[in-house]
């Protein structure tokens, strides 16, 4: 670097700046030199900052996607649709193995699935197809089979419904509907 009028300070050995070690130019004592921003440094700053902003946008998109996926329950295969006879039922765990749910087949293409937990005090409900309802044996609570709505006894809230889908003859649980 050439000695400029901005460089007032004289190095201790008195030699000009271009004879000085590099660190003396890298860490100048004079204000004007210390605050000097070269065009190349500024361009570098601009490019890197805009690159960081672009990456940040991608990161936000990715985070949004990840957050949306996190709220979704997994799609789980329950059984073959034919494996349950008409008027029969099957207990399965969804979304976790310990969340016991029950699926009931009432017709050729009619399946109803609910979380087995009674909304009164969490006993397991049992299907009573003859009367078209689920019965909770603990306090004689009753839920309608087709909707899960409480119709008798202490429960006040409907059963948690499991959304079903049949794909290629397989019965899948695809989601959960929590109703108040």
């Amino acid at each position: 670097m050439k000695s400029t009028p901005d460089q007032l300070s004289v190095p201790p050995d008195g030699r000009p700046y271009h004879d000085q070690p590099q660190w003396r130019n890298d860490f100048p004592i004079d204000w004007p030199q210390d605050e000097l921003v070269a065009r190349r440094d500024f361009t570098k700053f601009l490019v890197l900052t805009s690159f960081a902003f672009a990456v940040g946008q991608l990161w936000i998109v990715f985070e949004n996607f990840r957050r949306k996926r996190k709220g979704q329950l997994t799609v789980m295969r329950i059984a073959r649709a034919d494996a349950i006879p008409v008027g029969g039922s099957l207990v399965f765990g969804y979304p976790e193995p310990h969340d016991t749910c029950i699926v009931v087949r009432t017709g050729a293409q009619q399946y109803f699935a609910y979380n087995q937990k009674c909304t009164h005090l969490s006993c397991a409900v049992v299907p009573d197809l003859a009367r078209g309802r689920f019965l909770c044996p603990c306090h004689n609570g009753s839920f309608e089979l087709r909707t899960g709505i409480p119709i008798a006894g202490p429960p006040r809230r409907p059963l948690e419904r499991i959304l079903l889908e049949i794909r290629d003859g397989d019965l899948y649980a695809i989601g959960r509907e929590v109703r108040a």
Binding site: D6, L8, S9, V10, P11, P12, F27, I29, D30, W31, P32, D34
Partner: protein, 203 residues
């Protein structure tokens, strides 16, 4: 107009005006940066005001490991930059004039910056504006030569092998005919003055 700072310790009367005025300065309000030193307190009341000499090659900045001490375009060495200063005390130990002060509670070295808010716009530094005897003078070189024809401004100091040229001038008697002040030589000098004083006391 090229305004310079002139220091004339011969004229100092130790009134402490500069010390009080210094703490009024807006760059370090409430904290005086000037040192008013006694030369040899047991035998004399002579005082010397010490302000930053603003060296051409500031030793404080040379030894700063944090790149915190900077010199402005007009040659005034500034207080350490707060974001950079690491309170290592290197500058305090290195300065041959003993100017920098460490404020440990702020972890910041503070020093005389020649009232940069004032001198940068052509005003006198606080100390020079109040000094009643002209020991601290801020004006042009011509003014000074006219006012003090028997004195000569010197701004070269020698500390052993280190020669320092400063922005601030020290007034020395013109007939002494010296071009630089050898500060360390004073250490070898026999305390002649002291002996003289004792002789006077004895007689």
């Amino acid at each position: 107009m090229n305004l310079e700072f002139f220091l004339d310790p011969n004229r100092c009367i130790g009134c402490q005006s500069c010390v009080a005025a210094c703490s009024e300065c807006d760059t370090h309000r409430g904290h005086s940066m000037i040192h008013l030193e006694y030369v040899d307190r047991p035998i004399s009341v002579q005082t010397v005001p010490v302000v930053c000499m603003h060296c051409d090659s500031p030793t404080c900045a040379e030894v700063c490991p944090a790149d915190a001490i900077k010199r402005t375009g007009d040659g005034v060495v500034q207080t350490a930059r707060k974001p950079r200063c690491i309170a290592c005390n290197n500058c305090v130990l290195a300065c041959p004039f003993g100017v920098p002060k460490m404020r440990t509670e702020w972890a910041l070295m503070m020093k005389c910056d020649m009232c940069y808010d004032r001198t940068s716009v052509g005003l006198k530094p606080m100390c020079a504006s109040v000094c009643p005897s002209g020991a601290l003078y801020f004006g042009t070189y011509e003014e000074m030569e006219h006012l003090r024809p028997r004195s000569q401004p010197v701004n070269t100091f020698r500390f052993g092998n280190q020669t320092i040229t400063t922005k601030v001038h020290m007034m020395v008697p013109r007939d002494a005919g010296i071009s630089h002040l050898d500060v360390l030589s004073a250490m070898d000098e026999n305390p002649v003055a002291r002996m003289d004083v004792f002789d006077e006391i004895d007689s």
